[in-house]
Symmetry: C2
Subunit: 235 residues, 2 copies
């Protein structure tokens, strides 16, 4: 059974980032257009080879800073290893993929061959990068429900309706501003800053500004069900 298996003593390893941001009501990802074959003119995720003295997380942060000038990443987490032997043509390369988030108010300066693309309308992607983007989107959507990860997409200060747009774009369905406010407030995630915004020309009550109380990801709903007993024993 094992006779056909020849262990690789060594093989290449790259790191890839699905950098997500919300802008103008849609969730978008940072892609880079390949100039050369293979897969010339297809769009691929930023990243590159793992360095000798860095772990995968340091590596992806370094490469983002170097290659696409994204230094203000507000959240980074590993997605998975992509390891199909034929995932890229030529010598085998494993990839560790990351989900990275950038707050919606930032506009990092991008190299000319790099651009944001709406996740709902991806261009032709290279290799397995399309699948990685979908994994990233799904991970983000899941975590929007049971963590405070929204902080990583939001600007430092925001109104509830701005936050509603942001959550709606990330989740892919319309969120109620009323209920969003209460859900986050119940969990103690929101702090009023005391500031308000001027209403638009059409009038309306000025909106209060808020900030997120935490600036690191925290699981806010560890037990959807099967909570530990509050007191005494059960059953």
């Amino acid at each position: 059974m094992a006779d056909a298996i020849t262990p690789h003593s060594a093989l290449a390893h790259e790191v890839l980032a699905a950098v997500l941001q919300v802008r103008e009501g849609s969730l978008r990802v940072l892609l880079w257009e390949r100039a050369r074959e293979p897969h010339a003119h297809r769009w691929s995720l930023p990243g590159g080879r793992l360095g000798a003295d860095e772990d995968v997380e340091s590596s992806i942060l370094r490469q983002l800073a170097e290659k696409v000038d994204v230094r203000q990443v507000s959240h980074v987490e590993q997605l998975a290893v992509f390891s199909a032997p034929d995932r890229v043509p030529g010598p085998r390369v494993l990839a560790t993929a990351f989900l990275c988030l950038v707050p919606s108010h930032l506009d990092p300066e991008l190299p000319p061959d790099t651009a944001w693309h709406a996740i709902d309308a991806l261009p032709r992607t290279a290799f397995d990068h399309g699948a990685i983007v979908l994994r990233a989107r799904n991970r983000l959507r899941a975590k929007m429900s049971y963590t405070n990860i929204g902080f990583a997409l939001a600007p430092p200060e925001f109104t509830i309706s701005a936050l509603r747009e942001l959550y709606s774009a990330a989740l892919g369905y319309r969120v109620s501003a009323t209920n969003l406010q209460r859900v986050l407030a119940r969990r103690g995630l929101l702090e009023p800053t005391g500031h308000t915004t001027k209403p638009g020309r059409s009038g309306g009550r000025p909106a209060a500004q808020f900030r997120f109380a935490e600036t690191a990801m925290v699981v806010t709903d560890p037990f959807a069900v099967l909570r530990p007993p509050s007191t005494g024993r059960t059953g």
Copy 2:
């Protein structure tokens, strides 16, 4: 900034499995005692080098089958890549770690240097394997709440109280049999088999047997909160 980074053209990659099982009320993991340095006599996770023509998941399943005769793994999922440059002494090796589950009724034949250990009382572990085991346990506990992953720990047929023991061991706190039954029933995860067990010598009502309706992992509670609107629009 990048001048100090010398990309590895190639480096070694291993796969490691945290194989978990519930037995006698405790969650345990399969470990293998290292005979040789480095870290001789410490306990390590089963696994080995990635083969040339396999992806990481095929690799871990192959290695489990070959090395520790665990062929009846009911669930496999990637945990993470462990990539600290000094995670093992000597030439650098990246590791992709897996969570694997074995149903509680199975007793795979083990090589002499391999044994189960309660996760709450781990022996001295090698390299970063202790951290990997904890990650596996945490992942399992989280998924017990919002997926049907219990199916992978349970025998094909079980009573509710047996299932209660199993969930309690996996979660680390006492679960109510009454509520466990209802939570799983509400989600349509349980099917009565029609069989009953004989009561013990001390009497008692015979217990009905159940099975899990699904034998693959399914997310049963995608939205702890912020559910999509059932009908009409919101806000």
